[in-house]
């Protein structure tokens, strides 16, 4: 009887966890679709999509190479509305290049790159609006 109860509980736990993971993925899919609307047809995707589940003050960070002579668009979104995600761009030495906190938390921004460099993008939730959520970062470039 005990074994049956334990088995039942384990299955229930696993099912609920799997459901929650799928639910979170679905939520991220929706946010990615919304975020993608910031990219007009003149921007080509870099072929990747970056997602993170953030809670409270957690920071998502990713590194990428920007080629000289290119124009990039970064889209950074969380939730169904804009203004939920703060994102900052630094160079390899952590010199700040951009922060959307100075621009009404714009969900996208363009970067005209003169010379190739490595940048670090950090993103965290605007805690005035949200405590937790899926953060999506998209990168496009102008051919």
């Amino acid at each position: 009887m005990k074994k049956i109860n334990l088995l039942y509980t384990s299955i229930l736990f696993l099912s609920i966890t799997l459901f929650s993971v799928k639910e979170t993925q679905a939520q991220c899919d929706t946010i990615a679709t919304i975020c993608n609307q910031n990219f007009t047809k003149e921007y080509l995707s870099d072929g990747q999509e970056y997602r993170a589940l953030l809670i409270n003050e957690q920071t998502a960070e990713f590194h990428l190479t920007l080629y000289g002579g290119s124009i990039y668009r970064f889209g950074a979104c969380s939730g169904m509305n804009s203004g939920n995600l703060v994102f900052r761009v630094y160079d390899q030495d952590y010199n700040e290049i951009f922060s959307n906190s100075e621009h009404e938390l714009s969900p996208y921004w363009d970067f005209k790159v003169n010379s190739t460099l490595d940048v670090i993008v950090e993103a965290n939730l605007n805690q005035d609006k949200v405590n937790s959520g899926c953060a999506v970062l998209l990168v496009g470039f102008k051919p």
Binding site: T17, Q48, T59, Y94, F111, S115, G133, P143
Partner: protein, 302 residues
């Protein structure tokens, strides 16, 4: 006693569900404008950092370098592409993933040079490879038809190709197949460097030469992406070893970087990054990189 244990497990499960499902929970407080901050240099933070999907490194799109090759005035060379007939030789998941990346870069290259027939062939072989990897729902008949219908419209074709690879990347990550996703990126990067090194000498283009040298940054990111999967298969660990040898060659190349304050044009939502970088690469280093990338590529495609 058992009931108490069940309740405890139940509460743990509920807590977990709450932590995940409360994503997007909104506070009712009015949004306040964040204070403006002066551009600054910050100390690198190590604490409280959440890495994106456990991997924090990104690889540039192969399409960007293919554009550079065309802008540099190089002619289309179909001999540089991996023949589609070889697709049937790739039997393992890792081989298929790496070669899907290679075929994807070939597809982008052919598309940028308006080589319709080759582009259709490489779209078809990408579909075959992705089907064998279990991601056929993305590279499906509809996509192939849309691709064929847009032949002649390069912009639309490139959007279709980029979006297909982005969706595949997300599908694989969602389904815990991150190794495949990373190997596709690796294949694309290797094929692009193969194009560039083969065209650098014949074209004499400084832009292509610089792009090859700039991969000194990207190869570190690529190895960092692959490292978590080094024990997955001998092929993956061998690939990492070979890339490390290539990285050693890159070690001799000078890549200098100088920070200059950026210029932001708020009304255009644009920031101009004024920092300057410079690559200094000898002919011998270029030759060594060319040889090494050929060796790596041959191990994947043959």
């Amino acid at each position: 006693m058992l009931n108490k244990v069940n309740v405890r497990i139940g509460l743990t499960a509920l807590s977990l569900i709450f932590a995940i499902a409360c994503a997007e929970s909104n506070k009712n407080e009015q949004k306040e404008k964040l204070p403006n901050e002066e551009p600054k240099k910050v100390e690198k933070k190590n604490s409280n950092l959440f890495e994106v999907e456990g991997k924090v490194f990104s690889i540039p799109s192969p399409i960007q370098t293919a554009f550079l090759l065309k802008e540099a005035g190089t002619d289309y060379r179909s001999s540089l592409l991996n023949p589609t007939e070889k697709a049937g030789n790739y039997a393992t998941t890792n081989q298929r993933a790496l070669n899907l990346g290679i075929y994807g870069a070939d597809l982008g290259y052919a598309t940028i040079y308006d080589q319709s027939q080759d582009a259709i062939s490489y779209m078809a072989v990408s579909r075959k490879m992705s089907s064998e990897l279990g991601i056929d729902g993305l590279f499906n008949e509809v996509l192939l038809s849309r691709f064929e219908a847009n032949i002649g419209n390069q912009d639309s074709l490139l959007v279709l190709v980029s979006d297909a690879f982005k969706k595949a990347d997300q599908y694989l990550k969602n389904n815990e197949q991150k190794t495949i996703s990373v190997l596709i990126l690796a294949g694309g990067w290797i094929e692009t460097l193969h194009f560039a090194t083969n065209l650098a000498k014949s074209s004499g283009s400084e832009a292509i030469r610089n792009r090859i040298g700039e991969q000194k940054i990207t190869i570190k990111n690529l190895i960092n992406l692959l490292l978590p999967f080094q024990d997955d298969s001998p092929m993956t660990s061998n690939l990492i070893n070979q890339l490390n040898e290539l990285k050693d060659i890159y070690g001799g190349i000078e890549f200098s970087y100088t920070f200059n304050p950026p210029t932001t044009i708020a009304e255009e939502k644009t920031t101009v990054i004024n920092s300057v970088s410079k690559v200094d690469m000898t002919d011998q280093e270029l030759s060594d990189i060319t040889d090494k990338i050929e060796e790596i590529r041959n191990n994947i495609t043959n």
